[in-house]
Subunit: 222 residues, 2 copies
C-alpha cells in the first residue's frame, strides 16, 4: 500500500521539522502565509491547509490579523501510536503500575455497586474461560480488570487503563493463538482473590495480588 503525500501534508511535515530543529521556538511567529508559500514553492491555500493540520495537532495557532504562532515544540504524543510501537513488556509494566495502584485505592474506596460489578464480571469471565471463543474470553477478562480500576474512583487511572486496552487486547489475541491448551484461562482463582481483597478493604493485599497476577502475565509473554 503505497501512499503519496499531498503537498499540504508534506508542507506540514516540513514546518514540523523546522520547529523541531529549533528554527522556530515556542511562541515564535511564523513568516506570513505568502512568504511561506514562496519559500516552499506552493500556493497559499496549501500552506493554509498545512497550518490548519498542525493547528489540529495543537502545534500551531493562527490568530487573524496577528499571525501564526508556535504553541508546542512537537506534536502531542499520540498514545495509541506510542503504545503500538512500544515493547509489549514495557506496556505490560505500565499496566501493572496502573492496576496495582488501582487495586490498592479500590480497596479503600470501593462501593457496593463496585462489588456487584465484580460479581457479574467474574461470573462472565468464568463462563467465557470454560467454553467461549478467544475474543469473548478476552473481553470478559478485560471487563473485570477494568472494573477493578474503575473501583479506584480515579478518572486519570481509568483513562490510562482505557488507553492501554487496545494494545493489551492485541497482545492477548497473539498470545492465545500460540496457546492451544488455554493455559491462561485457568487463573480464575487469581482474579477472585483480587476481588476478595478489595471487598475486604485490604489495600496491601489487593495491591500485592494484582501485582503478582500481572507479573505472571508479563513473565508468560516476555
Amino acid at each position: 500500500m503505497i501512499r503519496r503525500h499531498p503537498l499540504a501534508e508534506q508542507a506540514a511535515e516540513e514546518l514540523l521539522r523546522r520547529i523541531g530543529s529549533g528554527e522556530w521556538t515556542l511562541g515564535t511567529k511564523l513568516p506570513g502565509e505568502t512568504t511561506l508559500a514562496a519559500q516552499l514553492g506552493v500556493g497559499r491555500s496549501t500552506i493554509r491547509e498545512a497550518v490548519r493540520e498542525l493547528a489540529g495537532r495543537r502545534v500551531l495557532e493562527s490568530r487573524q490579523g496577528a499571525g501564526v504562532f508556535v504553541i508546542a515544540l512537537q506534536a502531542a504524543e499520540d498514545w495509541d501510536k506510542v503504545l503500538r510501537k512500544a515493547d509489549i513488556t514495557d506496556v505490560l509494566e505500565g499496566r501493572l503500575a496502573i492496576e496495582t495502584e488501582g487495586a490498592r485505592l479500590a480497596a479503600s474506596r470501593r462501593t457496593q455497586a463496585d462489588l456487584r460489578t465484580f460479581r457479574y464480571t467474574l461470573a462472565d469471565r468464568k463462563r467465557a474461560a470454560a467454553n467461549a471463543p478467544d475474543d469473548w474470553y478476552i473481553e470478559a477478562d478485560l471487563a473485570f480488570h477494568r472494573a477493578v480500576v474503575t473501583a479506584a474512583h480515579n478518572a486519570v487511572l481509568t483513562e490510562l487503563f482505557d488507553t492501554f486496552v487496545p494494545r493489551i487486547r492485541r497482545a492477548m489475541i497473539d498470545m492465545l493463538k500460540l496457546d492451544d491448551e488455554h493455559r491462561h484461562r485457568h487463573d480464575q482463582a487469581a482474579h477472585e482473590a483480587i476481588a476478595e481483597a478489595i471487598r475486604a478493604k485490604d489495600p496491601e493485599l489487593a495491591a500485592t495480588r494484582a501485582r503478582e497476577h500481572l507479573g505472571a502475565v508479563r513473565s508468560s509473554v516476555g
Copy 2:
C-alpha cells in the same frame, strides 16, 4: 480573553459533532466537498480546512479521487487536556502509580550512569532547595524524579511521566505560592533515601519509599 472561532473551526466542530452523534460511523465516506459546503453554508476551502484539521487529529482521512473517510469515532484523547481538567489528587495518584513501579524496576535495572545522574540531580536539588527561586527548585525536583523513572528503562513509563510533568509543574507552582516557609524543600532526605534504595538494588524498599514520599506530597495538597 475573548476569541471568536473562525468558520473553518466551527465547521470542524460540526463535523465532529455529527460523527459523535452516529450520523457517520467508522469507515463512512463523507459527502463531497461541494455538498458539505452547501450544507453548512460555507465555501469549499473552508470545508477543506475543517477536514484538514480533523485529519491532523486523526479523525478523518481524505484520499484523492475516493473521498473523505471516518477513521476514528472521536478525537484521540488529548492527554494534556485530560490532565488539565482532572483533579490534582487524581493526577498525583497516577504519578504515584508510575513512580512507585518505576522505582521498583529501577532498583533491578539501574546502571552506573543512572547512579551518576542521581548524584548530579540530587546535588542540584539540594542547592536549589537552599536558596533558589521557586521555578529553579521545581525543575531540580522534577529532574530527580524523572531520573528515577528513566532508570527503570521502560519507554512507556518514561513517556507517561513526561506527559504528567506539565500538570505537576503547575500544581507545584500553585502549592509553593501558598507556602511561605518552604516546608516542602526540606524533604531532601526522602529523595536521597529513594536513590539509596535503588543503588542498593532493593526493589521493595525503593517502591515503598517512593510511595511514601509521593503519598506525603498528595496529602499535603488534598
